[in-house]
């Protein structure tokens, strides 16, 4: 998919830096007195000299500081959640902004050694990301390859407990505050959003017009219909360790509660989890309320909360 995040616009002053990244090299300016500087300028901020030359450096350094961003700083970054924003102190002493890749947020430590990763995905420019020196992450993120969706843990099939819907005590034992593990991840592409817009007739521009969204939408990028994300639950396989048996049919009674607390920007992957909220014996059968939560991968706020009511008859 097209790169929908803000991109740098190199200037006559900064062009050599971006040219370096395109060649998978880190190049910095140094003045005649040996001071290194970053970001690019036409003078040395340490001594004022205007005699600057570009030099190739290793690009390696230490993690000066970082944060784990749990609310996207811009909707377009929702696919990176949580955002591993960092400041690196290069061996030459200059600081630069980046994001960390190939590391678990829990393993990030201020002071750890980092090496550059050249990210060719944006196409027109190469961005500079960082990874711990010991990580197995490749030094280049290739342009064409979209990052593979990581299969969610816990999706592999286990033998399931069989619960009879006639056994109301066993059915009630399914009620839990705990959610299941995460389902598989599913990418909500612009193409799917467009298909849903055509099918439902809801082709409002905030879902379908990337150019206008850039100009006028508070989100800057198209977002999926809430109703679309709701129905995409069918694409998500929740890891349940039981199955309900002994019924003639299941009736979908709709929702006790349906909420869309967070957006799903176009191009993000979603995954879900659920829990049994309540089980009631009615005259006609057993009514189960299933709370289903759908999140953008990495987002702790759900995009869909659906308390689905089903009747086993």
């Amino acid at each position: 998919m097209a790169w929908n995040k803000p991109l740098p616009h190199p200037t006559s002053i900064s062009q050599p830096y971006w040219d370096g990244l395109r060649d998978h090299e880190v190049r910095l300016q140094q003045c005649e007195h040996g001071h290194w500087l970053f970001f690019p300028r036409t003078h040395c901020p340490t001594c004022g000299s205007r005699q600057l030359i570009w030099r190739r450096v290793s690009g390696e350094g230490r993690l000066y500081t970082f944060t784990v961003g749990r609310v996207p700083t811009l909707p377009e970054f929702t696919d990176e959640m949580p955002q591993l924003l960092a400041v690196v102190e290069l061996d030459e002493g200059v600081h630069l902004n980046t994001t960390l890749v190939g590391v678990d947020p829990a393993d990030v430590r201020v002071g750890q050694r980092l090496r550059p990763v050249f990210d060719d995905r944006p196409g027109e420019v190469t961005l500079l990301r960082y990874t711990p020196v010991e990580s197995a992450h490749p030094g280049v993120i290739a342009g064409e390859a979209a990052p593979a969706a990581v299969p969610a843990p816990g999706v592999e099939e286990k033998p399931k407990r069989r619960i009879s819907c006639k056994d109301i005590a066993a059915m009630k034992s399914l009620v839990s505050e705990e959610f299941t593990g995460w389902s598989n991840a599913f990418e909500v592409t612009q193409e799917i959003i467009n298909q849903f817009a055509a099918l439902s007739g809801d082709d409002y521009w905030i879902h379908t017009d990337p150019e206008r969204c850039k100009r006028e939408s508070p989100f800057g990028t198209p977002i999926a219909h809430g109703a679309l994300v709701q129905v995409l639950v069918s694409r998500l396989k929740m890891p349940m360790d039981y199955e309900v048996v002994d019924f003639v049919n299941i009736v979908n009674y709709g929702s006790d509660r349906l909420r869309f607390p967070a957006i799903v920007p176009s191009g993000c992957s979603i995954h879900g989890r659920c829990r049994v909220k309540s089980v009631e014996q009615l005259k006609s059968g057993v009514q189960v309320t299933l709370e289903i939560n759908v999140h953008v991968v990495g987002q702790d706020r759900p995009s869909v909360i659906n308390d689905l009511v089903m009747l086993y008859m």
Partner: protein
């Protein structure tokens, strides 16, 4: 050298902080006239007394240049001193000392310092309000061609304030250690103060340390309740000659010391991310006033985030560098405590009206010194330290205020 205490704060006005969407929409000129007349009323003065003006330059609605002339004309006031200031949350503190300096120089007698922060009415033609809202998508980061932050920050998702302050806090944690419960106490004590201030956004909503620790993590280690909520509002402050002030309605509040320091737009490029501009600014303010941090009866410290408060306490000299967590554990920051701080609730609990956030702190210091703080009134209330912070620890200013004897 420095201010001689010949200028005084004599009156103020501010809108009650409200959510942007429910607040009335008013033109900035209209807000300025409204706030100015209320503040002058408070002081016992009229527009006829005003001959100096300082207003905020960034985001002014009806013009992007020639702002003081437009405002002066609208008010009907000829100006001997006219200034815009563009220091974010350090603007209010910066306005006060500039007003005092202009008065002591003899340029003018009475200065209106004013920051309008309600949204302007929607326009059917060229909607500046929408433009500002759109630009706020990038959290105050410039997206213009040639702006280093547009080129080096935005592509990586570095923008707005939360993540920058969080990275400062993480650096602090790595160097000095971090006590989340001690940090949460800042929020809890300030909320207690807000619960005694009917004008506060969060009046009547006390919180506990657990509430803070259970609030949503936004950017490690900062949680939702440690982050200000920007709201609609606005404030005005009247500064005049001290000799003139003595015949007015309230006790004159003299500007005894001031300082200002601006070190970088982004903390990424600061030489030391933990050396706050408030250090040199505060040292200058205390030296000018001939006082030290321990002399203060209250501290109204700019609190966009808990980490801002911690680092201000350290760098302004209330405790040593790296000792902040212990200082937090050993002090009670309520108006009844042994270190009264942000006695109105601070921005975390009073609310942060637009870029005027800092004015609420200057106004609270003035009212405490004048003995007008109601049930929050401090017993010792002659000396106040006030700080302001703009950007991401980009620019900071300090005031030492003294009640006229």
């Amino acid at each position: 050298m420095g201010l001689q205490g010949r200028a005084a704060l004599v009156g103020a006005a501010q809108y009650k902080p409200e959510k942007y969407m429910s607040a009335p929409r008013m033109f900035h000129l209209e807000q300025i006239a409204d706030l100015a007349t209320q503040a002058l009323d408070d002081a016992g003065m009229t527009l006829r007394d005003v001959d100096g003006l300082i207003t905020s330059g960034a985001y002014f609605h009806e013009a992007s240049s020639f702002v003081p002339a437009m405002v002066g004309e609208y008010l009907g006031v000829p100006l001997n001193f006219a200034e815009v200031i563009d220091l974010g949350g350090a603007s209010s503190v910066g306005m006060v000392w500039r007003a005092a300096a202009a008065i002591e120089l003899g340029l003018c007698d009475t200065v209106l310092c004013v920051i309008p922060s309600r949204m302007a009415p929607m326009s059917p033609h060229d909607d500046h309000a929408m433009e500002v809202m759109r630009s706020s998508r990038f959290g105050g980061h410039s997206t213009r061609f040639g702006a280093p932050e547009a080129e080096m920050d935005l592509p990586y998702g570095h923008m707005a304030q939360n993540t920058g302050y969080a990275m400062i806090a993480q650096r602090y944690a790595a160097q000095h250690g971090y006590d989340v419960a001690a940090m949460a106490r800042i929020c809890v004590d300030q909320r207690f103060n807000a619960c005694h201030n009917p004008g506060a956004m969060f009046y009547g909503q006390p919180i506990t340390v657990d509430d803070v620790l259970n609030s949503r993590m936004v950017a490690d280690p900062l949680r939702m309740l440690e982050i200000v909520m920007p709201v609609a509002g606005g404030g005005a402050m009247i500064v005049t000659r001290a000799d003139k002030a003595r015949s007015l309605r309230h006790r004159p509040v003299l500007v005894a010391g001031c300082g200002e320091h601006v070190h970088s737009k982004s903390p990424t490029y600061a030489h030391d991310m933990l050396a706050m501009p408030i250090g040199p600014a505060s040292r200058k303010a205390f030296a000018m006033a001939g006082l030290k941090p321990a002399d203060m009866h209250m501290a109204q410290i700019y609190d966009c985030y808990t980490i801002t408060v911690l680092l201000t306490l350290e760098d302004a000299g209330f405790c040593a560098k790296g000792e902040g967590m212990r200082f937090l554990r050993e002090h009670d920051f309520t108006f009844q405590g042994n270190f009264p701080m942000n006695t109105h609730g601070g921005q975390l609990s009073f609310g942060q009206p637009g870029s005027a956030g800092g004015m609420t702190q200057v106004i609270e210091a003035m009212q405490q010194i004048q003995g007008r703080a109601g049930e929050r009134q401090l017993a010792r209330h002659d000396l106040a330290y006030v700080s302001g912070t703009g950007g991401v620890m980009s620019e900071q200013g300090a005031l030492v205020l003294r009640g006229d004897q």
